[in-house]
């Protein structure tokens, strides 16, 4: 038998070429209407092109034609799994433009609501992320606890998803009697449930195999790419707007900012799991120290900020949520309304993260950067 070098056999038997496949916009693991065009070499991803805009509703343009109060309800529709956070970000920006002081009680309640929202958003994230990778049980557990938070929000403002729960200068209404006790009771329940999630995932061999070393990005590169929130902290950059540029009542709260080391999917998972516990810590402090007093500051009847422009950022569950608003001082609507969407900036890094990984890792990485398409597309 004559000897043939392996490369000749290979060349004769296989005709290799790159394969372009389309994932989405209707795909269960893209968390909405995200379309990714993947270029594959066998099972490996050579390049990815992210196509967005399927949920674009022109919220920025709409807001420039609504009055200042009506916009609060449009901000609900951006990050619809953390609507209260978007509300607070917008209201605080307008308060900054109006230069009005918010009462301390309102600041504390905003902090409680935002942290509840962070837990709800992270519950949704851990459930869907685990389900994308194949751990179905976590999804059911996490949604069970998210339901408890939605019940708390329903009791507070009557809505379960799009709350419209803030007003410029404070809150629309005070909390119902006994609500703070229920929040504390929820914190005690949640503590035990977090251990349950961690039992299912943190040391699970399959989970480790699927997440360790997947989508590694180092701190300097993550900063340059504009990653924010847990995705940036997973790479070891201790950047948290709550600590660096405190807003609401965060300067009076005692909490830690967890950071990862490896910058892979597993570290981003660990960072978010620790954020659950830090959020519970903040909620306990804010609820225990809840000051008495009014819930709305001195707001003019006609909201018409003086001409000027400002940028204000808060830490949403997904990362730095910024508002840039320009007022012309004459009309009752903003001249320019711009949102810095954290999901949009995080999604930008997806092609960089998936390059060189398997097709199956693409869904793990989409889950790992935690996007909401309502906010990406606006």
């Amino acid at each position: 038998m004559t000897y043939l070098p392996p490369e000749t056999i290979h060349g004769a038997m296989f005709d290799t070429s790159e394969l372009v496949i389309n994932m989405g916009p209707q795909h269960p693991s893209t968390h909405g209407v995200l379309r990714v065009v993947l270029r594959l070499d066998g099972e490996k991803v050579v390049d990815a092109d992210v196509v967005i805009g399927y949920l674009h509703r022109g919220i920025e343009k709409l807001s420039e034609n609504r009055n200042w109060t009506q916009i609060i309800l449009l901000t609900d529709r951006m990050d619809y799994v953390a609507a209260a956070t978007s509300n607070v970000g917008y209201c605080e920006t307008v308060e900054k433009l109006l230069q009005i002081e918010v009462p301390r009680r309102a600041k504390y309640l905003r902090t409680v609501l935002m942290e509840l929202q962070r837990i709800a958003s992270h519950c949704l994230w851990v459930g869907t992320h685990a389900m994308d990778i194949g751990a179905m049980t976590v999804f059911l557990y996490a949604f069970r606890e998210r339901e408890l938070i939605l019940d708390l929000f329903e009791e507070f403002c009557g809505a379960r998803l799009t709350y419209n729960s803030m007003r410029i200068g404070g809150l629309p209404q005070d909390i119902p009697p006994g609500w703070d006790k229920k929040v504390l009771a929820f914190c005690d329940v949640m503590d035990g449930k977090l251990d349950e999630y961690e039992t299912l995932l943190t040391h699970n061999r399959i989970w480790l195999e699927r997440t360790k070393g997947v989508g590694v990005i180092h701190g300097a590169e993550a900063t340059a790419l504009g990653l924010c929130g847990p995705a940036l902290r997973g790479s070891g950059v201790a950047r948290d707007v709550r600590k660096d540029e405190p807003y609401a009542a965060y300067d009076e709260m005692d909490f830690d900012v967890p950071v990862g080391m490896a910058g892979d999917t597993y570290d981003r998972y660990l960072v978010r799991m620790e954020e659950f516990r830090q959020s519970l810590r903040i909620i306990r402090q804010a609820t225990a120290g809840l000051p008495e007093g009014p819930i709305v500051g001195k707001v003019p009847r006609l909201i018409k900020p003086a001409a000027g422009e400002t940028y204000h950022a808060i830490e949403s569950p997904k990362g730095e949520l910024g508002y840039f608003i320009v007022s012309d001082g004459k009309s009752t609507n903003p001249y320019r309304f711009r949102v810095r969407p954290p999901s949009f900036c995080n999604l930008q890094a997806l092609p960089r993260l998936v390059r060189g990984h398997m097709v199956a890792d693409v869904v793990a990485l989409i889950g790992s950067i935690d996007i909401v398409l309502g906010e990406v597309d606006r």
């Binding site: 805009g53 920025e60 343009k61 000027g308 940028y311 730095e320 840039f324 004459k330 320019r336 900036c345």
Partner: protein, 201 residues
Amino acid sequence: MADAPEHAPRAAAPSGPTEPAPPADAAIPAFVTSLQDNVAGSVAQLSLYLGDWTVIVPASHLVQAAQYLRDAADCAFDYLSDLTATDWPPRAEARFDVLYMLYSTRHRHRVRVKVKVAEDQPLASVTGVWPAANWLEREVFDMFGVNFTGHPDRRRILMPEDWQGHPQRKDYPLEGPGELLMENPIDWLKLRQSRDEADIE
């Protein structure tokens, strides 16, 4: 005219943002003086409003100033928070303000860089300085039609690829263009002009 647009007559559009100069007793931050000293002609104007410092940079000095702001030790603006634009149609010589919200993860300070550009004036892309600018510049191009040069992938991002017009411009109708614009932009323009004239009478 039965189908005349029902919007109320508007006050004259503002011709630009207020850019209040910092008060005489305000301490100018080190990153501003450092930029002024090391990149000649890079600070055309300085503004302070509600604690936000804004540096207005001529379009010709943008990339040089951006590079300096990122690399110099006392600036270290390594994080591009946001990149956006505002449209001021009455300002014919420089219709758009392009804004760069910068943040330093080392010093934890912020600055806003503003560049004024005319409608067709090319503006150098800063993707080489901050890769984060990639999608943000695509969005500004999509929404305002600012002409970025040297961008690696200048396509529309939120609107469909064959879309006509730039929706965030102030003269773009809120209700959208309707089908006429998509099919025949010249007829659409004629119709709009005739409507505008009817409005004036």
